[in-house]
Symmetry: C2
Subunit: 321 residues, 2 copies
């Protein structure tokens, strides 16, 4: 049992000296555990999966997803687990495929709220949904206070003097993180006594080039909003570049706030003010939640991380009319 | 056999109609193949691994590695394989761990040249080394023409008029991609009849903040080089930001060329001139090489992709002395 604990990376149950001795013997004899045989015997594969919803047409991986994945991999490796990854147009189909490998559990990133229940009931596996707003008591969730993020972005623009506002997002209607950010932003508008008409809603795919094109369009429009909130940094960065290249100075003529605080927020000029989330912390919480779920099978836990304004150079008072 | 081919994703050996019918039956009956049992019976797990060398101290994942990984995952999924990923301080140790899962093969990204032989002989598995300059006939390699990349970067700066040059890299001495880019750059210096002393070698870790600090330092130095080649975009982006923030105009007072053509090269102002590599094509080549190797076991193949200058706004003639 002790040896098996060491082999399977459960060293918390074994003294450090003993674990070290066992590892030495394994090393010397060239012992390699037989994963498939162990999985059949114990019904545990020690494999966990990360499934992330991703359009096949995406021009490049989302930096947010890459940081999340990187941290999940480190966390699972540290816990002695193997990580399988799979991007999916249809999360339900992919999740089923993963059953074939008898994964012990999975983290599902970016599925729509409506898919969560279906995936959970089809699989009956330990699953942790990240950035998902399912209200089912059977779903374990890790996410952010997205509403608060939208709220502080709105407050930041309004308190700086902006009255012609825009919210740029890949659609705000479907229940989920973007919808929550939208609701928070509108709450800031409402608490300031502004009319809903003060806000222009603009659609943009969450890709640099789509947002760049929109920024160029905005630059040419006569009744341009002066205070812009983009629900993702990658959109904000494209808008910023599109505006600046078209001769609209940021922040002098237009202010922009993003969401995420990607490393890229600091690469651009001016550096991007944004709603900061701690992506590695979110990944660590998802890893911890899944490992706990595998042990206890008690679903329904919810972790919601806080967000905060990261103030940089892309916000200033609006130009005098 | 036909059913097994469909289950295992080898649909190239089965007519499309038959494959579709078998999938329908599997769907209707809720059939899920038992991966571990199949692996024991066939000695094939259908799992492949991507191992990437990565320092535990990295502040965030390398965008290059994220794009590569994303494309490998898509390719392996399309081929009906499962992908395990593992970052590793020590590639040899991690590769051994993966044997436990009876992976059918692995792609090794970023291992040092000297490690390749050791890993290959210890594992005896189908392995494809990416960006590796081992000359062993037992190693299968996919990489770039890094020498040519350094050469065209050097020519670009010299032909624009620069005579005070710098090469910024995370060390140029160890055999590998960086060393090749350095050799190519020095060949351009030599073919132009310039003295080696025209080139200042500067060290920078491949992280934005390290390069930012170096850019700030450079801005303050009296005999500043005017033409800078960074062996990675992430370094070039940090340098650019550090110089510009410290009041050195790019490209008017300093020119910068990167290497990679990451999406981020277009986010910065001015947009970065850089040596373009096609990372998704490199990933596709690695996937194809590994799948071929798993079938034939014939090692020693080599694929080397070309690179080219992507000209943007960060290069101009040097200021008049």
């Amino acid at each position: 049992m002790t040896v098996s604990n060491v082999i399977n990376g459960r060293t918390d149950k074994v003294s450090a000296a003993t674990a070290e001795r066992i590892r030495e013997i394994m090393d010397r004899t060239g012992y390699v555990p037989n994963g498939p045989a162990t999985a059949l015997a114990t019904k545990r594969s020690n494999i966990v999966a990360l499934v992330h919803a991703a359009s096949g047409e995406r021009p490049q991986p989302s930096p947010h997803d890459s940081i999340f994945l990187d941290e999940v991999e480190r966390g699972m490796t540290k816990a002695g687990r193997y990580l399988m990854i799979r991007s999916a147009d249809d999360v339900a189909v992919t999740a089923k495929e993963l059953r074939s490998w008898r994964v012990d559990g999975a983290i599902i990133l970016g599925a729509f709220t409506s898919e969560a229940d279906e995936v959970q009931s089809k699989l009956g596996l330990p699953l942790v949904f990240v950035d998902n707003y399912s209200t089912s008591s059977r779903i374990s969730r890790v996410g952010l206070d997205d509403f608060h993020g939208g709220l502080i972005a709105g407050r930041e623009l309004i308190s700086t003097g902006h009255r012609r506002l825009a919210l740029v997002a890949p659609g705000v209607d479907r229940p989920g993180v973007i919808h929550q950010r939208f609701l928070g932003f509108m709450a800031a508008v409402s608490e300031a006594g502004l009319d809903r008409e003060a806000v222009t809603l603009l659609d943009s795919a969450p890709f640099f080039d789509a947002a760049l094109a929109l920024g160029q369009e905005l630059a040419a429009s006569p009744q341009r909003p002066t205070g812009i909130f983009a629900t993702a940094d990658i959109i904000a960065i494209g808008l910023l570049k599109g505006l600046v290249e078209s001769g609209v100075a940021v922040p002098e003529q237009a202010s922009i706030i993003g969401f995420d605080d990607l490393p890229e927020a600091r690469y651009v000029s001016p550096a991007l003010s944004t709603v900061r989330q701690d992506i590695p912390a979110k990944a660590k919480a998802a890893v911890a939640a899944l490992l706990a779920l595998i042990e206890t099978q008690e679903r329904g836990a919810e972790v919601r991380l806080s967000v905060e304004m990261a103030r940089r150079g892309s916000v200033a008072p609006p130009p005098k009319a």
